[in-house]
Amino acid sequence: MRGKVSRKTIFAFLGPSVIALALIGIAPLLYALWTSLHFFNLTKLRRVKFIGLENYGEVLTDGAFWQAMGRTFYLLALSLPLQLALGMGIALILHKPGLTLLKTLARLSLVLPMATTYAVVGLLGQVMFNQKFGVINQFLSPFGGGSINWIGDSSNAFIMIVFWDVWQWTPFVALVLLAGLTMVPGEVEEAARLETKRWWTILRYVQLPFLMPGLVAVLILRTADTLKLFDMVFTLTRGGPGSSTELISLMIQRVGFRAFDQGLASAQAIILLIITIILAQIYIRVFYREV
């Protein structure tokens, strides 16, 4: 088969993608790598010089960097299980037979949060969680929570970020898992239901193996998304109050574009990239199994 396709044809099909990827993805990465090895401050361009791994050393020994990294993983540890649990629940409900019209409407409405721009979510959050006139406090006031300071309190601000991340991305998890459930052969599922009425047993031994590829994809994508989550938090809290919601992506933006230290910011970004790749590899090796 391979002998029948000429090299020209292969290049014609693959070439444009490879060139586009090289221009859009690889070239900036190489530039970031070069920058990370230099003292490179946009406001001090006359002093650009090669400094080897000095930026990396500064990043690795900077407590603020690891605090931001810890905060980011804390967000991931809080929001991902919630998204998986809620997403699985929604997927299982939508997978049940019957109520076709309602389920179609539900599937459509699941797309809305995902389609909302991150920055708009942040702005919505500012209005809805406003201490004085926000709808959330209005809603909570009968229960004694009418004056919660969401944006100005460190813990509450973080809870707010978790809430919006779960709101926006649970539907994605639900749709991916729903697609996985439709892969389960009907006769296998039917046979299992004749054997047991325990939904957990069916889920664990029949449906879960078919969900694993989707779950691994969700884990990788949500981890990568959380590690680079920026717009929503920037428009909602700008990383505050203090540093309480300064995730790693906000820190990199602050160093690179507010203090203009592109070299240090590039080193931070490269380290973040390495961590993301390692995590993706771990997910694939530990969780991924071919059905």
Binding site: L42, T43, L45, G152, D153, G240, P241, A259, F260
Partner: protein, 446 residues
């Protein structure tokens, strides 16, 4: 022939002489701009009242000159980054909008052109420019660096005390506090009740934390960021007194004050939730406008309260300077716009439309103070201000990030004022050492 030549050359010389004299006396914007008609000038504006004021006046300038002013609007937080990227990339900006703390940065990078290049050109310089008419403090702090003037003051602020006379009268006060101590110890307890607060100090973690919050409590108490050797002065008794004062004052401010930027603070005042704020003069038009303020009829203005070291009000504002990257025609056209926007002739209209000019002559009419009640306090502040309220050197963008982070941590109680000042000082000095101030590579200039 010789006689004809002589007569001819005499006539030419007389013609030139009279022509030049009449040209000098009849300088007009229209004629000066004629060679540059059709030129487009790109400039960054902020989303603030002073910019809306000049934008409303712009059609007159464009009609008279044929120069097109292309305004690119940014919120303050983005303005520095957008301009730095544009200048580094050799972009399109022809005029730089410079916060007073950016002037050292822009000048040292040679992104802007000294104003003398244009004021020395009779074809461009308006004979009525009158540089001496600018408040000297404002001209030097906003537009000057190392003895050279680069920008002309355009959007000019001084910190003022805005107070709600209705709330103060109800609490038994017939005037605003004269000192910070009175504000905290007398007005604070009396005005903080029933969900209302005596005072709000905008302290969000951005330039607001550095300029409006941190620096505001340093200077009146005798403190400062740096000493005369550019070493941290934040652990001095005076600086610590100021920072501790801010902590003590927080009990009379709304919850979550560290999330308050200018908008939240002005809104809180405008909604009648807060009795006093110390804000920039630029927000005057917002709080006295019944469409944006519920307390428009109760607003009064005073200079900022005094501390043990005097008044030392906050100083901030912007100048406009010609960008070095612009070509000759754009530079000339840009200068003509700056000169026009900051001129004596337009200062009155700029004021009426919500701007705050830096022209002394604009405030000379005592009747104006009745219409614009902020004027006496503003003029007093500009005569009593501190040019280095925030250091204006090129390293400020890095230092302000440190102040923002640790200033907020102090306010949140995550570190004490001493711990915060120690960390801040160490980090500030590392930046200054790296810049070469301690090795003598760079003069200790502010």
């Amino acid at each position: 022939m010789k006689i004809r030549d002589l007569l001819g050359s005499t006539a030419l010389a007389l013609g030139l002489a009279f022509g030049s004299v009449s040209g000098a006396s009849a300088w007009s914007l229209k004629e000066a701009a004629a060679p540059y008609a059709g030129t487009t000038v790109d400039v960054v504006f902020l989303l603030r009242p002073g910019y809306e004021a000049i934008e409303a006046m712009l059609p007159e300038f464009e009609e008279e000159t044929g120069i097109k002013i292309n305004i690119i609007k940014h919120p303050y937080e983005n303005a520095l980054g957008e301009q730095v990227r544009d200048f580094v990339a050799g972009g399109d900006l022809d005029i730089a909008l410079i916060d007073l703390v950016w002037i050292g940065n822009f000048a040292e990078n040679e992104w802007i052109v000294p104003i003398s290049k244009f004021t020395s050109d009779p074809a461009l310089a308006d004979p009525d420019l009158d540089m001496d008419d600018f408040f000297p403090l404002v001209l030097n702090a906003f537009g000057g660096w190392n003895g050279e003037i680069y920008g002309l003051p355009f959007d000019n602020y001084s910190g003022l005390l805005f107070y709600n006379t209705c709330m103060l009268e109800e609490a038994g006060f017939d005037g605003p506090p004269e000192t910070w101590a009175d504000l905290k110890d007398v007005y604070g307890p009396a005005l903080t009740k029933d969900g209302k607060y005596a005072y709000a100090l905008q302290s969000k973690r951005n330039e607001t934390q550095s300029a409006d919050s941190f620096a505001r409590v340093l200077w009146p108490f005798g403190g400062s960021f740096l000493d005369e050797n550019f070493r941290s002065n934040l652990l001095s008794e005076e600086s610590q007194a100021g920072l501790q004062f801010r902590q003590d004052l927080m009990q009379y401010m709304p919850d979550g004050i560290v999330a308050y930027d200018h908008a939240e603070t002005v809104n809180a005042f405008g909604q009648g939730d807060v009795a006093m704020i110390t804000e920039w003069s630029a927000f005057y038009s917002t709080v006295v406008n019944p469409e944006t303020s519920k307390v428009a009829d109760c607003v009064a203005i005073a200079p900022e309260p005094m501390g043990p070291a005097g008044r030392k009000p906050a100083l901030g504002g912007f100048s406009l300077a010609v960008a070095a990257q612009a070509d000759d025609a754009e530079q000339a056209a840009g200068y003509l716009f700056i000169q026009w926007a900051t001129s004596k002739a337009n200062a009155g209209e700029y004021l009426e439309r919500g701007g705050v000019p830096a022209r002394q002559s604009a405030y000379a009419d005592p009747a104006l103070a009745e219409t614009y009640t902020f004027i006496p306090a503003l003029v007093e502040s500009w005569q009593d201000g501190v040019p280095e309220f925030r250091p204006r050197f090129a390293e400020w963008p890095e230092i302000t990030e440190i102040v923002q982070e640790w200033g907020t941590k102090i306010m949140l109680g995550e570190v004490s004022t001493v711990e915060g000042a120690e960390e801040l000082g160490t980090r500030m000095e590392a930046v200054l050492e790296d810049a070469g101030y301690y090795s003598g590579d760079k003069p200790l200039a502010q």
